[in-house]
């Protein structure tokens, strides 16, 4: 097969047939902004923010859904492209409750808007995705100014009736990523586009709340939502990307071993996301992996060793507790031999703990009476 070439921004680039303009660009470190495009799913071309100028075409074409072709000449940052993107962004920002101060309007309309937004959200904080919003980033980058806002959302409050996910359509830009995440990535088929034309919105079957739908609260839709329309309830207003540290770890629940990104604020996990591109989960998590982290902060955690005396537990120091354990094990081994002690390790804890426990039983107590609940 002859080598296929495309020219992007005056660079001749080779590509494999079937690749889109966006894929060729990304492979060569040429940045094209996207909003609706979700890797690994079928491109919908919904937002058109990724448009580029193609020499032979009359109109600008979306890079995410246009296949690269041999001999194609592409410009990703021409004036025409820049203008088109700015127009799209203006439309999107003015379409809803984007109160993140991207506007440089200084009239009273802007103040009214903020007051309404606060009431709507029952919070004085700006949008919960402030600082983590693709639309906001692009609005800054393209210096978008808006002085006309749609306020239809004012009397359609956010959906708060489930414990995990806040759905706030005042900020939805109808990009469809959540629909793709739910249907093509996690395949839970809980949400889709509903209604027609201007009334289009994301709905569950019968337009019920998530709580009454097929939703299994995997939170994939939240992870992919580029704006503040889908937000983790537990992290809402608590988490901002600039006040948290990111720590990668492995999920503590089932044997899939998903890779998680812990977002830690002042030594406390405030949010968990899936690590994109990581093995084995490629960014995906389930309800337990995403929302099952806060048990470690329960008040009921054991904080000190306890010793039972006359049927009641009392607090003890490590020295006292460990000396007691050691003495008892020693005595029993002396009296009845090593076979009189036995231990069960934990299939939830880290490898190093299990190694250490079997070493204690084998090398110190001199018995192979060590097991764990693999068989159960």
């Amino acid at each position: 097969m002859s080598i296929q070439k495309i020219n992007i921004n005056n660079h001749d680039l080779s590509f494999k047939p079937g690749m889109t303009i966006l894929e060729v660009a990304e492979e060569n470190m040429i940045r094209i902004p996207t909003l609706c495009h979700l890797k690994g799913t079928i491109p919908t071309g919904a937002c058109r923010i990724c448009v580029v100028e193609v020499a032979s075409a009359n109109n600008l074409l979306p890079a995410c859904s246009t296949p690269a072709a041999n001999g194609m000449v592409v410009e990703t940052d021409s004036n025409k492209v820049f203008e088109a993107r700015r127009t799209i962004l203006e439309l999107l920002i003015s379409s809803g409750n984007h109160n993140c101060a991207v506007s440089e309007t200084s009239n009273s309309e802007w103040i009214d808007f903020q007051v309404d937004a606060m009431k709507y959200e029952e919070s004085e904080e700006l949008c919960p995705s402030w600082g983590d919003c693709k639309l906001q980033d692009l609005a800054y980058q393209y210096r978008v100014r808006v002085d006309n806002f749609n306020k239809d959302w004012v009397d359609q409050p956010p959906e708060l009736d489930n414990p995990m996910i806040v759905r706030d359509f005042s900020r939805c830009i109808s990009c469809g990523r959540c629909v793709q995440a739910c249907n093509e990535v996690q395949v839970n088929r809980a949400i889709d586009f509903g209604y027609r034309g201007n009334d289009t919105k994301i709905v569950t079957a019968g337009d019920r709340t998530l709580m009454d739908s097929d939703c299994v609260f995997c939170g994939e839709c939240v992870q992919v939502c580029p704006v503040g329309a889908l937000v983790d309830k537990k992290s809402r207003f608590k988490w901002r990307p600039f006040n948290t540290e990111k720590i990668r770890t492995t999920c503590p629940y089932c044997g899939v071993g998903c890779q998680q990104m812990l977002h830690v604020k002042d030594g406390e996990i405030v949010k968990v996301t899936g690590v994109e591109e990581a093995e084995p989960n490629k960014g995906r998590l389930c309800v337990k992996g995403r929302f099952g982290y806060d048990f470690i902060y329960s008040d009921e955690r054991l904080k000190t060793p306890l010793i039972k005396e006359n049927g009641e537990f009392r607090e003890a120091s490590w020295d006292e507790a460990l000396n007691l354990v050691t003495d008892k094990f020693k005595t029993i081994i002396d009296e009845s031999g090593s076979a009189a002690v036995a231990g069960v390790s934990c299939a939830r804890s880290i490898n190093e703990d299990s190694y250490q426990m079997q070493k204690l039983f084998r090398a110190v107590f001199k018995t192979n009476n060590i097991d764990h609940c693999a068989r159960t």
Binding site: V287, I307, F329, G343, R348, N368, T376
Partner: protein
Amino acid sequence: MTEAHPVAATYLKNAVQSGAKLILVDPRKHKLAEFADIHAPLLVGSDISFLNSLMYVLIDEDLYDKDFVKDHTEGFDELKVKVKEYPPEIAAKTCGIEPSMIYEIARELSKVKPVMCCYTLGITEHTCGRNNVVSIANLQMLLGNMGVESGGVNPLRGQNNVQGACDMGALPNVYPGYQPVINEKSVEKFEEFWGVGGLDKENGLMIPQMMDGLVDGKVRAFYIFGENLANTEPDIKKVEHELSSAEFLVVQDIFLNETTVFADVILPAAAWSENDGTFTNSERRVSRVRTASEAPGIAKPNWWIFREIAKRMGQKWSSNSAKEIWDNELSVLAPQFGGIKYSRIEKDGLQWPCPTVEHTGTKFLHKDGTFTKGRGTFLPVDWTPPAEVPDEEYPLVLSTGRRLYHYHTRTQTGRCEGLNELLPEETADISYADATDLGIDNGEMIYVSSRRGKVKVRANVTDEVPKGLVWMAFHFRENNANWLTNPAFDPITLTAEYKACAVRIDIIEGNL
């Protein structure tokens, strides 16, 4: 699978969406059935009868992989004789699947390659659990689906680190890396490395034997690390009797639970994310676990606690962090892990076997049909019924499992904001047919009882469950299925039969 291994299930569903065929063999018509080309609703505990029958068809119709069988296996003739006893027309009586469907499945299986077989505890938690696994391996060898990517026999491990706990030698018969404790050479190796003498040269006790030992006094001191045995073992009444018989019981955990009640000493441990370390998932991938917050109070990492006890008994262990334990001990002692070091798994983990630091890990086992022992051996097995089958007094079968929103005994998920709201209580899932026969409405409180106990629980009438089956989980204490389950064990693995016992349902008089 969508409930117990949700993210693994997403890949399966992705495959179906891109054209793969899915055959679901499960008594319950759960979520995956929507995605399946064929759903075979076999009777609980009849797996071997069904699998043998598939092999009958494959051999009878000459559909098996003759080259693979010839080049890579042994024992085919014995298998052939055994499965001859299971023509679909006969097997149908025990496994409850129409003969025509058995033929269809066998033919479908022979048409594509590779076929991946995944299973979970529905296979192992039976008195014939080991034979079930053997039978699946027989089938996959017969089809030539071993040693290829996306083929094979793939158990999805229940707990996050069951694989790891096995690998680390938290088993009575093997040292870390599956080196047998009865082998002179491995004993010497470990004695030398650990700098001790007199290691035990006999296999130790398995959990059920330990529990018996507590009652007859053979086991006087018992150390439980992190397992809530009083809720997770079958027949709670029996287990509680055993635990209360312990002369000295140490429990190391992060919360008080039903098991700590019986303890003499409770040691507070650091939890996930308060501790550096590694987990090994179902694909044998060793991945890092990292510290995000401090353990509460004076709780300590588990490895530290064990090290302190060793110190008090006169052994000074030099490794003083999870990293040192892994890099300096485990990976040196266990050849499969020789090439896995913390510095290599900063990002994605590595899949063992990974013998050297140049090795990139092993994606799938038995490559090109070479088994650990050279050839794969067919081990013909017979179907045996569960230890307890329905009768007049207890006419229904109880099977158990996990649900999506909780994990095990809920000591953790029960304490996460919101998860209790998503699943506030246990239910007994029953079929419309049984509900009608017994006069039970959806949502009504009922009694479910077995020879071992009785629980009060809300009925969930659903078409997921076939007639004759009751399905429950073990997430909630009061109506935990393990008040009912049968402590009957597989004779070799001593895995308990959580998946089948006989129960009855009674209406609560005057109940609304």
